[in-house]
Amino acid sequence: MPKKRWFFYPLSAAVGLLSGLFGAGGGVVAVPLLRACGLEADKAHATSISVTFPLALLSGYFYLKGEHLVLSDALPYLPGALLGALVGAWLLGRIGAVWLRRIFGAVVVFSAVRLLLR
C-alpha cells in the first residue's frame, strides 16, 4: 500500500456498502479512493476490481440467502460477460477514455431519469 490516509477505512466500508446495496457501483468509490492513496490511474482501475470481486461474491451470498437471486437467471448473460471482459481489459491503457466517459455519462443520466420517472 503506497500511502494510507485516514479516509481509507470508512471509504473501504462504503465500497462494500454500495456492493451490498446496489449489487454494483463499488468501483465508483474504490477507484478514486485508490487514486487518492497514490495509485496511478490504470493501477487504481485494475486494483478496484480485485476489491469489488470478493465483495460481489459476498453480496451474492447474501442475495442468495435472502432469496433475491436465482443463479440460473444469470446464465444468458454469461457469454457476453466473458467476451466483453476480454475486450474491456485489453482496452485498458490503450484508449483515451475521455470521449468514452462522456458517452457513458450521457447514457447513465438518460437511463437514470427514465428509472426515476417509471
Binding site: G16, G27, A85, A89
Partner: protein, 129 residues
C-alpha cells in the same frame, strides 16, 4: 428480451466493467430501466454476471502487473462489513424504494462523468508516470 439485446447489453456492461468504469451498473440499469425487471432481481443477476467479468479482468490485469494487492486486502476486509449492512438495507427497502435510490445514485455518477475535467486528469496521470 431477445438473445441479441441480452448479448449486446451484457457485452457492453462487461467491457465497461473490465475497464473499471462503473460498467457493473450498466447491466442493472438495462435490466430495470429497459427490460422492466425488479430492482433486487436485477442486482442479484448483476452480482453473478460480475464474477466471470472480474475473473477475466483480474487475470489480464495481474499479467500486466496492474494490481496492488497490498491495497486490496484491507479494503476487502472493511468492505465486507459494508456488504453485510448494504445487503441488509437493500432487502429492508425493497425493490420499489431501492430503484429510486439507485436512480439518484446513477444521476450523481452520470453527472460526474459528464462534468469531469479531462485536462486535470491528464495532468495528474502525467505527473505520476
Amino acid at each position: 428480451m431477445s438473445w441479441i439485446t441480452i448479448g449486446i447489453a451484457s457485452f457492453l456492461s462487461a467491457a465497461l466493467g473490465a475497464l473499471g468504469m462503473g460498467g457493473g451498473g450498466v447491466l442493472v440499469l438495462y435490466l430495470t430501466a429497459y427490460a422492466g425487471m425488479e430492482q433486487l432481481a436485477a442486482q442479484g443477476i448483476n452480482l453473478v454476471f460480475f464474477v466471470p467479468v472480474a475473473a477475466v479482468a483480474l487475470l489480464i490485469h495481474q499479467k500486466n502487473k496492474r494490481i496492488v494487492w497490498s491495497a486490496t486486502v484491507p479494503c476487502v476486509i472493511l468492505g465486507s462489513i459494508g456488504v453485510y449492512f448494504g445487503a441488509k438495507l437493500a432487502m429492508l427497502l425493497g425493490s420499489q424504494a431501492l430503484s429510486k435510490l439507485f436512480g439518484v445514485f446513477l444521476l450523481l455518477i452520470g453527472a460526474r462523468e459528464l462534468l469531469a475535467s479531462p485536462k486535470k486528469e491528464g495532468k495528474q496521470d502525467k505527473g505520476k508516470k
